[in-house]
């Protein structure tokens, strides 16, 4: 009898275990509610499969009203305007047509280049656009997720969109414990920064897509997730004009490019491959400009001869940068080069050197951009860049040199010896 009793407890345990396996259900909910946030968070954890860090947990989540968000944006824009002031880099980007004279993206919110501005020079239209459309965001400085409550956005579709956005932002909070998202402030080149950000945003976008698949029962599977990512990327290319100025288009393109990178890894070996994919992320954006078969072009050393300079003491060098292949692609698209040509040219990128020279009062700015390629630049590229007469372009078998300035008098450019 004792033996029988001894087996009762284990038997109960096994019965319990056999009946286990009920997952937390994922249904549309209001992300301003804590229980909904937890549902989204746990589903993120389940999708990534990395387990649970009890010291991480759900990051602090703050819910603010649209008006509170508006006030934050205005204050932030005013602070940035007061702190930064006019920059030679802003002028340089404008001269190359990387940015437009009229602000066209949330990326330059508050700069006040154009549009309806208030007395402090803050772009009200951009801020209103953000207030209306931003559902949530993650701050690596405060380590918090902020949800913007939109009382007028009701219904199942609005709730689903908000949940998918929250899923994306919560992925960032998970990344922040692994990667240190504030590292993006320490990159020396735009190319390095964009490559790093491509992985971060691509990862968040990829799991956001998986989340949407589960929430909306879209029926995507591991076998067709890459095809889906390719289609989404192609959609960006096809509607390039909607992405705004080339600089902001590059910032937008990192999402689908990174998603495609992750989806390719995922299809090859699930989450395990994605985890390792992090560790071997391309250090330059050219690594994300993959061919149709998914292979990436050679990254190259990034080493390049310096861009030419204007030999004027009154025009000191304000700075130099390496923009990388992705901005080169968007730059060419901005100058009306077709997708296939711009993409192939960007894929042949091996290095670039952007030099900005400016007078102290910013009355004169001169920009030189030397791009080195593994193949001769197509004639259509040179033709497109020189068509308006704003840019001076020199090309040879393996490089493009673009110079432009806002000087009233012609400047003399001198080649800088290659070390």
């Amino acid at each position: 009898m004792n033996r029988v009793r001894n087996w009762v407890l284990p038997g109960l345990f096994l019965t319990l275990a056999s009946g286990a396996g009920c997952q937390r259900s994922l249904v549309t909910c209001d992300i301003t509610q804590r229980s909904c946030q937890e549902d989204v968070y746990f589903h993120d954890l389940s999708l990534r499969g990395d387990g649970y860090d009890p010291f991480g947990g759900l990051p602090p989540v703050t819910v603010i009203t649209e008006d509170e968000y508006r006030q934050q944006l205005i204050a932030q824009a005013q602070a940035e305007t007061a702190q930064n002031g006019p920059s030679p880099w802003d002028k340089a980007m404008l001269l190359l047509h990387f940015t437009a004279a009229t602000g066209s993206s949330a990326g330059d919110a508050g700069v006040g280049d154009g549009g309806a501005s208030n007395d402090a020079g803050v772009d009200n239209s951009t801020i209103e656009d953000e207030v209306t459309h931003v559902l949530a965001f993650y701050s690596s400085q405060t380590k918090t997720v902020t949800i913007v409550a939109h009382p007028d956005q009701t219904g199942s579709d609005a709730e689903s969109n908000a949940m998918i956005t929250l899923a994306h932002e919560l992925i960032h909070s998970l990344q922040d414990r692994e990667l240190d998202l504030s590292k993006t402030d320490s990159f020396q080149t735009t190319d390095g920064y964009l490559a790093y950000d491509t992985i971060i945003e691509g990862d968040a976008r990829f799991y956001e897509t998986l989340f949407a698949n589960d929430l909306l029962h879209l029926g995507w599977s591991q076998s067709n997730i890459t095809k889906l990512a390719k289609e989404q990327l192609q959609n960006y290319y096809d509607n390039f004009g909607d992405l705004g100025a080339p600089l902001f288009a590059a910032q937008d393109l990192i999402y689908p490019l990174g998603e495609l990178y992750e989806a390719t890894e995922y299809q090859s070996g699930g989450n395990a491959a994605v985890r390792h994919g992090y560790a071997k992320e391309p250090p330059r954006t050219v690594g994300f400009l993959v061919n149709a078969d998914g292979t990436a072009p050679p990254v190259g050393s990034g080493n390049v001869c310096p861009a030419p300079a204007v030999a004027l003491a009154s025009l000191p060098t304000a700075g130099a940068d390496q923009l990388g292949a992705l901005p080169l692609y968007t730059f060419l698209r901005g100058w009306n080069v077709d997708h296939a040509t711009a993409y192939a040219t960007a894929q042949s990128w091996t290095g670039d050197f952007l030099r900005v020279q400016a007078k102290a009062d910013l009355t004169t700015t001169a920009v030189a951009w030397r791009i080195e390629l593994s193949a001769p630049p197509p004639a259509t590229v040179v033709q497109a860049l020189t068509s308006s007469g704003e840019l001076a372009v020199k090309s040879d078998a393996q490089s493009l040199e673009i110079t432009v300035s806002d000087s009233q008098s012609p400047l003399t450019w001198q080649a800088v010896s290659c070390q």
């Binding site: 407890l9 345990f13 937890e38 968070y41 746990f42 387990g51 649970y52 009890p54 699930g270 390792h276």
Partner: protein, 368 residues
């Protein structure tokens, strides 16, 4: 010469199964039981190595050197004392049985004299290998977490324990891309008191914050290993795995031996943890509580169901992680071995709405 070679071979034959057993259980125990069960023993040889017994037909010629040892039989154990008393595997989630010590334990002075007479072992090594796997679409990751433990009796009432865990993960990317991390080693001191059927243990430990990973593209792999190692133990002794933090856990165990060999055990711990490295900062308090029963199935086999719950840090979504375990132990002449399944029950890791994490545990208890 020939008989000597025979003795060497016989000695090797005797030690081979034990060596194999040690290899398979990822465990090394170099000491003999303090109070061995009745068995044939060899005569003392003056060497630390025990001489091998002669073969049955051994009949040495006169004057052969060295002289063959004689069989001697140890005195029978005291009544109700069939197996050596087991020390508490203090950091294992599974305490051993409590009926090892005789009900009427001699006074400390007598115990000391007995200890001196019998030259009992003063240290022991134990190990548990926890393992699990994460099966996802397109990939399977196997995680192993060995927990090594050494104990030293510094006084009949005081035991020092050193525990150190490790994590290792291999997935579809291959062995060359496997990832390993170290846990936080913990040094603990335990006071041991036995009164009638009651067994009480109280201890204090401190961990060294060696568990760490750099924030880098590899960070997700490292976090995976630590998170899965935690999950396989149901977050038990969380401070052994939590990164960048040190802890000072206060631990206690109470056992009560019922008639028929059944033993009930309750154990608890409370630990302040302090962020000391990396991005960890601040202080938090962790806690844990478990109840376990040891149910004899046969003379050498016990079944031990267990329920445990762990108080998680204040930053956690859920503040408690509960788990159920079932352990099968086998008493052998070389110690007590076990195999166990631990199943997390509730969120965040459990099978009911959580991440469905579990762990299989194999190992050998400390056998002081």
């Amino acid at each position: 010469m020939f008989p000597y070679a025979l003795r060497v071979l016989w000695g090797l034959a005797r030690t081979l199964p034990a060596a194999l057993c040690l290899m398979l259980s990822s465990h090394a125990s170099f000491a003999q039981p303090a109070n061995p069960a009745p068995q044939v023993q060899d005569a003392p040889s003056g060497d630390t190595a025990r001489p091998a017994p002669p073969p049955p037909a051994y009949n040495p010629a006169p004057g052969y050197y060295p002289p063959p040892p004689y069989y001697t039989y140890p005195p029978p154990p005291p009544p109700g004392y069939a197996y050596p008393p087991a020390a508490w595997p203090v950091q294992s989630p599974y305490p051993p049985e409590l009926y090892g010590n005789p009900p009427n334990e001699p006074p400390v002075a007598a115990a000391r004299m007995q200890a001196r007479d019998e030259a009992p072992r003063s240290y022991s090594l134990g190990a548990t290998l926890a393992t699990s796997y994460e099966s996802e679409p397109g990939s399977t990751s196997i995680v192993m977490s060995p927990l090594l433990e050494g104990a030293l009796i510094v006084h009949p009432l005081v035991l020092l324990d050193l525990t150190w865990g490790f994590g290792w993960m291999v997935d579809g990317q291959g062995l060359g891309d496997s990832t390993a991390r170290v846990g936080n080693p913990m040094l603990s001191g335990f006071f041991r008191a036995n009164t009638g059927p009651w067994r009480v243990r109280a201890g204090l430990g401190v961990t060294a914050p060696l568990a760490h990973f750099p924030l880098s593209p590899d960070g997700r792999l490292y976090a995976f290993v630590y998170n899965q190692a935690l999950a396989m133990w149901g977050m038990w002794n969380e401070w052994l795995w939590t990164t960048d933090r040190m802890a000072v856990p206060a631990m206690g165990r109470v056992g009560y031996a019922l008639s028929g060999g059944t033993v009930l055990v309750a154990e608890a711990a409370l630990a302040p943890v302090i962020g000391v490295r990396g991005t960890a900062h601040g202080t938090d308090v962790l806690g844990q509580l478990a109840v376990e029963a040891r149910l004899p199935v046969s003379a050498t086999v016990d079944l031990c169901p267990r329920l445990q719950t762990v108080l998680l840090p204040s930053t956690s979504v859920d503040r408690f992680q509960s788990a159920a375990g079932l352990r099968l132990t086998l008493q052998t002449q070389r110690g007590r071995y076990f195999a166990a399944l631990l199943l997390n029950l509730d969120e965040p890791l459990g099978v009911f709405g959580g991440l469905e994490r579990w762990g299989l545990h194999f190992g050998k208890e400390l056998d002081l």
